[in-house]
């Protein structure tokens, strides 16, 4: 049984007097311990799909199953704990007026109970940062450091699934490389599954096991990264692969 499954997911938005179909019936499945990539250009619906999975917005149609159990629109705390999300804007995902420690503690206490101890050493060690950084404010940290802290906050509650929404797109190339390596290591060491959204196929190639290519709210192609990227079946996928500029 898949860890996470989505069936017939559709999402419609009302914009002025037009209806925008951000997702047009997407199915997916995530297996235990695997990293699934969601690739596509802007407007493909990949971020919308992630928001639906995370529970930030309800689907217009379709269902999401966690360990075979359908998730309702009103998620329980346990649901939230099992799936944690990391956002594109590293500093923006922390409350600007609270220290990193306070933000992590708040999340931990909310999802693991008031008695949960915030192990500063262990948390910062997990992401390779000095513990003193936790007493700083988000604006005092660099983009890469903030993103590491965001990963730390997510992993502190020991989720089963990590949802990553373009987490390296706003970072410098060396910070990006550090974060990719960190996510790979953390998922492997903790047997955490992950869904990784990125517009950059090269990033997906080096991190993910499987990839889903999306266009205009629908799934175009799906398979292992080697197969989809090295031997794409669909024209659109081939075009995407050909557009990747390489060193």
């Amino acid at each position: 049984m898949s860890v996470l499954e989505g069936k017939g997911l559709k999402k419609r938005y009302q914009k002025q007097n037009r209806v925008i179909e951000a997702l047009r019936g997407v199915d997916f499945h995530l297996e235990d311990g695997e990293i699934l990539g969601l690739a596509g250009e802007s407007g493909s619906g990949k971020s919308t799909l992630l928001k639906l999975i995370a529970g930030l917005e309800p689907p217009s149609e379709g269902s999401i199953l966690l360990h075979g159990r359908e998730l309702s629109t009103r998620r329980t705390k346990e649901d939230y704990r099992s799936m944690q999300m990391i956002f594109q804007s590293a500093g923006g995902s922390f409350h600007p007026r609270r220290t990193i420690y306070d933000s992590i503690a708040e999340s931990l206490h909310s999802l693991r109970g008031r008695e949960a101890r915030v192990d500063v050493e262990a948390i910062s060690d997990m992401v390779g940062l000095p513990p003193e950084l936790m007493s700083r404010y988000p604006r005092q940290l660099s983009g890469g450091q903030c993103q590491r802290m965001a990963i730390a906050r997510a992993m502190a509650v020991q989720p089963e699934i990590l949802l990553c929404d373009e987490i390296t797109s706003a970072l410098d190339v060396s910070s990006q490389a550090q974060i990719l390596r960190l996510v790979a290591d953390i998922c492997r060491e903790n047997s955490t599954s992950a869904i990784f959204v990125s517009h950059d196929l090269a990033v997906i190639r080096c991190l993910c096991d499987r990839v889903m290519v999306m266009k205009d709210g629908a799934l175009v192609e799906e398979g292992s990264v080697e197969q989809v990227i090295l031997q794409p079946r669909e024209d659109y996928t081939r075009r995407l692969v050909d557009s990747v500029l390489q060193i």
Partner: protein, 277 residues
């Protein structure tokens, strides 16, 4: 960088100055009964329309009442009712606006349409109508002004919530399992308060003038209660004989409104510069 820090210091000092001035006004109004030179309600046929002198620092009005004492006592009515009115409309408007912005849908439409209906009437005209129907008295005058007053804060709060709702840290808070109430009060509210408090401070002056206006028209405070607007109304027929009876409350109003307005400006400038981006 150096220039920016210097101007922030300068703004801070200005803010403190006006906070102190506003504080002085509040203290004066609190201490009014103690510092009144005479009984504000004591009429005296012998002292009608007397010019300012040692016994009556601001002279007397047509009933021989000490204008200075009435101005001091009137400060209580004017300042307190304006501040109370702003406080009530602020809370009501902010709560409605936040709920409308957060939940959207039917609640949003309801609150916004209600606000639209209120704002379709010119504020003072509606206030006059309501106060006239309900009869006089400060309570009814405040209600009359408050009926439209809340819409300003509601719109502002709603706009802020809509803008902040999509910020990643708000998403992160929701994904930490926080209830809507927790997110609204602990995450959103502290980020919204700045601009809203600035609006509120500026509105104190507006409300004060509005209430004074209603009293001036005779549908606010009733005689013999001291209130700056009604004092102006009472004494304007005798403007040429006893201008001090009109000038004193008018100048008091102007000074008070200006101080609160500047306070609002200073708060806005200080917070604008200091906001972390």
């Amino acid at each position: 960088m150096k220039k920016r820090v210097k101007s922030r210091e300068h703004l801070r000092r200005r803010l403190i100055l006006f906070l102190v001035l506003a504080g002085i006004l509040v203290v004066i109004s609190l201490a009014a009964p103690l510092i009144c030179p005479n009984d504000p309600n004591a009429t005296s046929a012998a002292d009608m329309n007397r010019a300012p002198c040692a016994e009556f620092p601001f002279g007397t009005d047509r009933y021989g009442r000490c204008v200075c004492s009435r101005v001091l006592m009137g400060s209580r009515t004017s300042i307190y009712s304006a501040v109370a009115l702003v406080a009530i409309t602020f809370v009501v408007g902010m709560v409605l606006g936040m709920l409308a912005g957060w939940y959207g849908g039917f609640l949003d439409s309801l609150v916004m349409r209600l606000a639209d209906v209120m704002l379709a009437f010119p504020q003072m005209v509606l206030a006059i109508a309501v106060a006239g129907i309900l009869g006089g008295g400060m309570g009814n005058a405040m209600l009359a002004m408050g009926i439209t007053g809340w819409t300003l804060y509601a719109r502002l709060a709603r706009a802020q919530v809509l803008a902040l709702k999509e910020e990643p840290y708000v998403h992160a808070a929701r994904l930490s399992g926080c209830s809507s109430w927790t997110v609204l009060t602990k995450t959103l509210l502290p980020n919204m308060l700045g601009p809203m408090l600035v609006t509120a401070a500026t509105q104190i002056g507006v409300m004060m003038i509005g209430l004074a206006g209603l009293s001036f028209l005779g549908i606010g405070v009733t005689e013999p209660q001291a209130e700056w607007g009604s004092m102006i109304n009472t004494s304007r027929a005798y403007l040429q004989l006893a201008p001090w009876a009109v000038l004193a409350p008018a100048v008091a109003t102007i000074i008070t409104v200006m101080i609160f307005n500047y306070l609002g400006d200073c708060m806005r400038d200080y917070l604008d510069v200091g906001v972390e981006r």
